[in-house]
Amino acid sequence: MEKIIIQPGAMECDWGKRPTVERDIHTRVLFDRIWWFITMRWYAAMGCFLGALITSLPDVPFQIQARYPLAVGFGLLITNTLYYLITKNYAHRKNRGYSYSIIIRFQILTDFVCCSLLTYACGTVETPVFTLFLTHIILSTLFFESRQSLFTAFEAWLFATLPLILQCFGWLQLNSIFNPSLLKLVVGSAPLTVIFVTAIGFCFLVTWFLVNEITKSLRIREGQVVETVNMLKRMDVEKSQTTLRATHELKAPFAAIESYVFLLRDGYAGEIPKKAQNIICRIGERCELLRGRITEIIHLSNLKTLVLTEMNFKPLELGALLEKEVRENSVVGAQRNIRINYEHGPPTWVSGSRSHLYTLFSNLIRNAINYSYENGVVDVRLKAEEGKARVEIRDRGIGIPAKNMSKIFDEHFRSNNAVTHKKWGSGLGLAMVKETARMHGAVIHVNSVEKEGTVFQINFKRISQPEEGGTHE
C-alpha cells in the first residue's frame, strides 16, 4: 500500500497556525500586558506571604515586622482581584484601549505604594529593595509613551525615597533590620540624605533613558507592523471584491448560455430533432464544466493568497457538517448505485471556516464516488481522538498508481487511470483540499492500492465545545 502524508509545516508556506491579528493591535498588546501584570502580582502576593512566614521564624538574621509583608500581600490580593474583575469586564467594551491604560496606571500606583511600604519595612538604606521600582520603570516604557513613562519614573523616585524623607523629618519612626547606625547616619545629615535621594533619582533616570531608547525603536517597528497589517487588510478587501467581480463576469456569460440551452432542451423554442437535442445537451454539459472550472481556478487562487480577514474561523461541529455533505453527495452516488456509509461518534468540534471545510469534504467525497466502481460503497467516518478529530473517507475504487502518489496534490494533475475512468475533471480538487487542510492546520494521510481503493485521513486539532458562538453546520 502506497502512503503519502501532507502536513501543514511541510509546505512552502505554513498555514498550520491560524492568524490571530486583532482589529486593534495596541489594545490587544495592552490587554496581554495587563494579564501578565496581574499574573505577576499573584506571585508577588505569594512572595510577601512567604516573606512574612520567614520573618516570623525564630533565629532569622534580620528583624522585619511580619505585619508589613502581610499587609502588602493582602493589599496586592485585594487590588489584584479588583483589577482582574475590571479588566475582564472591559474586555468586550468599545474604546477599551483607553480604559486599559488607566487600569495599568492604577496598577503601577498600587505597586508603588506596596513597594514603598516594603522599602520602609526592609530598611530604607540597608537593603536594595528600592530596585523593585526599577522593574516598574522598565515596564512602563513598554506600556506608555516616553513622557508618560518618564512621569512613572518620577513617581517611582518619589515613592522610593518617601520613607527616607519622612524618617528624616521625623514623621515616621526609624526602622532598621540589621544595624540602625547607617540609617541614623544618613537621616542625621541633610547633605547625605540629599546625596542619597539624588543618587536614587539619577539611577532611575538613567535606567529610564536607556530602556526608553530601546523601546522607542521597538515601538517604531511595532508601528510598521501595524501599518503593514492594515495595508494587508485593505488589500484583502480589494482582492475579495475583485475576485467576486471577476467570478461574476466570467460565470455570467456561461450562465446565460446554459439558460438558453435549458430553454431549447425543455422545448420552449418548439420541437427539436433528437440529434440536435443531444448536441444541445453536450453544449450545456461543457458550459457547466467550464463554469465549474472557473470557480475552481478562482477558488484555488484565493486559497493560496488567503490572508487575515477572510479567515473567519469559528467553532464548528464536524459531525453535522459531514452529515450534510454526505446527504448531498448521496444523491450523486445514487446515480451510479454507490452507497455512502457515514459513521460518527459524539459531537466533535474544530475551529475552522464552514465554507472551506465544505469544499474540502465535498471534494474528497465526490472523488471517492467518481473513482469508485458502480454499485460500490464509500465509507465516511468521523472519530474523536485525544486532542484530534479524524475524518476518514474510504473508497473501493480504481486507486492511485504508486508512481503517482507524490503528484496527486499537484494542480491539474490527473493520473491516466483516473482519466480513463472519468473523462472530465480539472485536477484542481485535491490541490484545493491540500490548501484548505493547510489553512486549518490539518494533516492529510493518503493510503492507496491500485484497483482496490483509496483512504484519505484528515486529522484536525480538536477543540472543546464552545459555550456559545459555535455552529452545528
Binding site: L244, H248, A252, A256, L263, D266, A269, E473
Partner: protein
C-alpha cells in the same frame, strides 16, 4: 394571472426567464437596474420579484434593494426570489444557501443560482406565490 418583476442587468437572463414565465401564463415586467426600485415596485405592484444580486454600479445592489423593500410597510409582503451567478458554496464572498436567509442579512424569501433550471424556477415561484398553510 400573476405578475412577476425581474430585476437583472443581464439581458439574456431576463430574456430566458421571460420566455419560461410567459409560457407558463405569468405576466412579466423587467427592470435592468435597482434605481428607484421601491417606486417602480409600488407602481407595478407585482406578486413576486426575481432579483439579481450583482449590478454594474454595486456588487451587492440586490441585497441593498431587498433591504430597502423590506423596510417599506407597503412592499414588504411581496416575496423576493434572489438570483445570482455567484453562489458556489466554496466562494468566500457569497457563501450562502437558503439556510442563510434571514431578515437582517438577506431579507428575501428564497434563493436560486444561475443558470436557472426552468422546472426549479417554476417550483420555487409556486412555493412563494402559494405557500403551504402552516399550522
Amino acid at each position: 394571472m400573476s405578475r412577476i418583476l425581474i430585476v437583472d442587468d443581464d439581458y439574456d437572463i431576463v430574456d430566458s426567464l421571460s420566455i419560461i414565465l410567459e409560457a407558463n401564463d405569468f405576466e412579466v415586467e423587467a427592470k435592468m437596474d435597482t434605481e428607484d426600485l421601491s417606486t417602480y415596485v409600488a407602481d407595478y405592484n407585482p406578486d413576486l420579484i426575481i432579483l439579481d444580486i450583482m449590478f454594474p454600479e454595486d456588487a451587492q445592489g440586490g441585497f441593498a434593494a431587498a433591504r430597502e423593500l423590506s423596510k417599506s410597510e407597503r412592499l414588504r409582503h411581496i416575496p423576493i426570489l434572489l438570483l445570482s451567478a455567484v453562489n458556489q458554496r466554496s466562494n468566500m464572498s457569497f457563501a450562502f444557501s437558503d439556510a442563510d436567509i434571514s431578515d437582517d442579512f438577506m431579507p428575501v424569501n428564497a434563493f436560486i443560482e444561475k443558470p436557472v433550471e426552468p422546472k426549479l424556477l417554476l417550483a420555487r415561484i409556486q412555493e412563494l406565490l402559494h405557500p403551504p398553510a402552516t399550522g
